[in-house]
């Protein structure tokens, strides 16, 4: 390709410039968050921008644990996370395997139904399910949030894993079947170990969703503060007399809530890309 090197050089410089500007804008809220979390309350309400806290209030990160029941919130959130990740790894992958490599009667129809539910707006499920769970006394427990996960109620994960499974050459499975492996054995001993990228990907998605989740925990766990998740606890921080007094607490809380997500994504990045692209999401 013949291109004037000067033109290319200019274009590259402009690209870097635009990217740099964009990156600064995108990062700025996070920088501000961390900075505010390390400020003393009086410095939060300054009328000019001061990004380097003066004085540094590292004690904010210790005091918040006295201030807020963070450990309780985290414990509750982790319950949801465990259910979500388990759901992605076991019931969802079982279903994905069924859809991928077991030609049972009606598979096509049911798979179509699966895809349809991916587009189903959550609003139509919200109220009837609450009434149902209320009737059986499950409101103010974790069960309404655990049950769907344990049954593998996530069409997206099933879809992703099914695509991945179908990408693995069929001979491997046939060979195992011939040698007497049960279908379950094929899934557990061959399909799963070969699918680490997509398993990692759905685990990360499941973690993020559960860590993030707000509406369902709000309506089912809202009644008892002992059951609150981190998201609910953070939300409850606002609205006190004069946000100024709590802004740095809110930022400390936010940062603490952020960090596990960042870690999960940082370590899972390469699996994410492999697991999703091999499933043909872009195709």
């Amino acid at each position: 390709m013949i291109e004037n090197p000067r033109v290319r050089h200019t274009r590259n410089s402009l690209t870097y410039l635009a990217l740099l500007a964009g990156a600064l804008v995108m990062l700025f809220p996070l920088i501000w968050t961390i900075s505010t979390s390390l400020k003393t309350p009086d410095k939060v309400t300054l009328r000019y921008i001061e990004l380097i806290p003066d004085p540094w209030a590292f004690e904010n990160y210790l005091e918040i644990f006295n201030d807020q029941p963070l450990l309780r919130y985290t414990r509750n959130t982790l319950i949801l996370v465990a259910a979500a990740v388990f759901g992605a790894l076991v019931p969802c992958s079982l279903a994905a395997w069924g859809f991928a490599r077991i030609p049972f009667p009606g598979r096509r129809v049911l798979f179509g139904l699966l895809l349809a539910t991916m587009m189903l707006p959550y609003v139509v499920q919200l109220i009837p399910l609450f009434i149902f769970f209320d009737r059986i006394g499950w409101v103010n427990t974790f069960w309404p949030l655990i049950l769907p996960r344990v049954l593998g109620h996530n069409a997206f994960y099933i879809f992703l894993m099914r695509q991945f499974f179908r990408g693995i050459p069929v001979d491997l499975f046939d060979a195992a079947r011939i040698d007497g492996a049960s279908e379950f054995g094929v899934w557990w001993r061959i399909a799963m170990p070969m699918s680490l990228p997509v398993l990692a990907a759905v685990s990360i998605f499941a973690f993020q969703f559960a860590w993030d989740d707000f509406l369902w925990p709000l309506i089912y766990l809202g009644g008892n503060k002992e059951n609150w998740t981190l998201a609910m606890g953070l939300n409850a921080l606002k609205g006190f007399e004069g946000d100024e007094n709590t802004m740095n607490v809110m930022m400390t809380f936010s940062t603490l809530m952020l960090v596990p997500m960042l870690l999960v994504f940082y370590f899972g990045q390469k699996y994410l890309v492999r697991g999703v692209s091999v499933s043909g999401l872009k195709g």
């Binding site: 390709m1 013949i2 274009r11 590259n12 690209t15 990217l19 964009g22 990156a23 995108m26 700025f28 809220p29 996070l30 501000w32 309400t45 300054l46 009328r47 921008i49 019931p91 079982l94 279903a95 069924g98 859809f99 077991i102 049972f104 009667p105 598979r107 049911l110 539910t117 189903l120 707006p121 609003v123 139509v124 499920q125 919200l126 109220i127 009837p128 009434i131 149902f132 049954l151 593998g152 109620h153 046939d174 279908e183 993020q208 993030d212 707000f214 309506i219 981190l230 953070l234 606002k238 809110m250 936010s254 809530m257 952020l258 997500m261 960042l262 990045q269 999401l281 872009k282 195709g283």
Partner: protein
């Protein structure tokens, strides 16, 4: 390759292992695999869908043990008496009309930039994706701080460049723009999907344009955009369906009151209030049905229109 030794065909080996009945129905084990999901389909998709429909025709509310059938009363009330309903539709459509296209354009533009074969693209990609990893509640809390009239950084910047500070969260006319701005921060999710799509475009196509004397604008218009239309379509639909049902960001940013003059009262906030604050679950169910229909209509329109502008495979249009 060495000649394969003759061996018994796989199928008959399996055949001889299982009884004839077990062999004929061997695929039914698939139902065991999808069993839990199937159960969840009934419990969490099919049953609620029809129950919601039924509920919408009742007056189910607090204190009632059994709901009474009231026919279309809920719907009539929604369309004739409920001012909040009309407002919530307006707010939600406004949000969607600004948030979805702007996010799409940002995501596409930055994906194009990141598609360059330059050093550091990986790092930039991570930076742009990072805000999408931030929990939604945290994002909203952060923006409460950023958008604060007195000490929010956004206003401090405005003042720095000589503009007047904006009362983002206390004036009705700025509430929806605040919501839109907050939503733009998360364009990284769509960007990553666009990037994956861009990187699957074969380089030869670009070369063909260059050989024919075209420049990068021609490349964009005749190769990139047409080939990206399926991805654009995907992001568009996901974006629209999501923005119609936006809830958490709004709830956290401006609470369930919907803000000054209910300027930020989006549809889902109204549903939430009716269901859990006013305890009018039958009425809220009717609202859900209406939202479902709206989303359905939009989706059908989009899918129908996609025939005309989405480029699939090698068919020339």
């Amino acid at each position: 390759m060495a000649e394969a030794l003759p061996r018994i065909p796989e199928e008959s080996r399996e055949r001889s292992r299982l009884s004839s009945l077990a062999y004929r129905y061997r695929h039914w084990v698939g139902f065991l695999f999808i069993g839990p999901w199937l159960l969840s389909l009934l419990l969490f998709d099919i049953m609620p869908f029809f129950a919601n429909l039924y509920l919408s025709f009742t007056d189910y509310s607090v204190g009632l043990v059994t709901p009474n059938w009231v026919g279309l009363d809920n719907y009539i009330e929604i369309f004739t008496e409920d001012r909040v309903f009309a407002k919530s539709v307006y707010n939600t459509v406004y949000y969607m009309l600004f948030s979805v296209p702007l996010r799409l354009v940002l995501a596409f533009a930055f994906a194009l930039l990141l598609n360059a074969r330059l050093r550091g693209m990986q790092m930039f990609r991570t930076i742009f994706y990072l805000p999408s990893v931030v929990p939604v509640v945290a994002t909203s809390i952060i923006f409460i701080g950023l958008l604060n009239t007195r000490y929010g950084v956004i206003n401090q910047f405005l003042v720095l460049v000589g503009l007047d500070p904006v009362r983002w969260l206390s004036r009705p006319e700025w509430i929806k723009p605040s919501l839109v701005i907050m939503s733009l921060w998360g364009f990284g999710g769509q960007m990553v999907i666009f990037l994956a799509g861009l990187q699957s475009i074969p380089g030869e196509l670009y070369e063909a344009v260059s050989i024919d004397g075209g420049n990068s604008w021609h490349r964009l218009r005749h190769i990139t955009v047409p080939l990206m239309t399926p991805t654009i379509f995907f992001n568009l639909i996901i974006g629209i369906i999501g923005s119609f049902q936006v809830f958490t960001q709004v709830f956290v940013l401006i609470t369930a009151t919907g803000g000054p003059l209910q300027a930020g009262l989006v549809y889902m906030i109204n549903v939430y209030n009716n269901a859990f604050a006013y305890f009018r679950k039958g009425y809220a169910a009717a609202l859900s049905v209406i939202l479902f229909v709206i989303i359905l209509v939009f989706t059908v329109i989009m899918v129908r229109s996609s025939d005309r502008w989405v480029f699939y495979g090698d068919d020339e249009r």
